[in-house]
């Protein structure tokens, strides 16, 4: 079974702190994603990576950056956390280009910025 592991399930950070959310997948998938989920807004794509060191902005990249130094690991960075970044963050991965790919999610990281 594909496993996507998010390192922290619950975090509380202070405004202005730098925050790292780590994600590891064990299925050699090409693509990795970071989504943010808020009530009533569904899942919104923050960043997407289709290869090591390659990234593409999603719908809401402002205030976030990402790092993918190794194929299995994709990190989301909040350079200076703000209260409006309090949310649930979901990491996901999927195989490379191919008809019928599905996406596999981690369990989510609940971030509270105070």
């Amino acid at each position: 079974d594909v496993k996507v592991t998010q390192s922290s399930r619950y975090l509380v950070k202070r405004t202005g702190e730098k925050v790292f959310l780590e994600c590891v997948q064990d299925m050699d998938h090409e693509n990795m994603f970071w989504y943010r989920q808020d009530p009533g807004l569904g899942l919104r794509l923050i960043y997407f990576s289709y290869d090591v060191k390659m990234k593409e902005k999603g719908d809401i990249p402002e205030g976030y950056s990402v790092s993918r130094e190794k194929k299995e690991r994709f990190s989301l960075i909040l350079e200076s956390a703000s209260t409006n970044q309090t949310s649930m963050y979901l990491c996901a991965s999927s195989p490379g280009q191919g008809y019928g790919n599905t996406i596999y999610f981690g369990e989510g990281s609940w971030l509270t910025v105070v």
Binding site: V4, N31, L90, G100, T102, I103, F105
Partner: protein, 112 residues
């Protein structure tokens, strides 16, 4: 945005009844997928329907796709309390197999 819209936002039914959720989207797709999310957890893939398919079944799930109306529906038959969850549709576009666009979900509550 390509993001799909699910309808209704919330649905409450009795165990044994059928549950129907709808999804509409905006641009041409390669395929459409449905996912389930238990409260506070990640999403899990349920079923995929390709753009050239009209209906697909998997156990108690039936998915239909109408590309002319840009809509899909998910039917869960003989629902169980364990089906209580949020259900999301995700679209994959024709020109980009790598991205998944999710709707805002339907929250299903199945009362025992």
């Amino acid at each position: 945005s390509q993001q799909g819209e699910e309808d209704p936002q919330a649905l409450s039914i009795q165990e044994g009844e059928n549950a129907t959720m709808n999804c509409s989207y905006k641009t041409s797709i390669n395929n459409l997928q449905w996912y389930r999310q238990n409260s506070g957890r990640g999403l899990v893939h349920l079923i995929l329907i390709r753009s050239n398919e009209r209906e697909k079944h998997s156990g108690r799930l039936r998915v239909t796709l109408d590309t002319s109306k840009k809509s899909s529906s998910l039917l869960i038959t003989a629902s169980r309390a364990a089906d209580t969850a949020s259900y999301f549709c995700a679209t994959v576009l024709i020109y980009n197999f790598n991205k998944f666009y999710f709707g805002s979900g339907t929250k299903l509550n199945v009362k025992p």
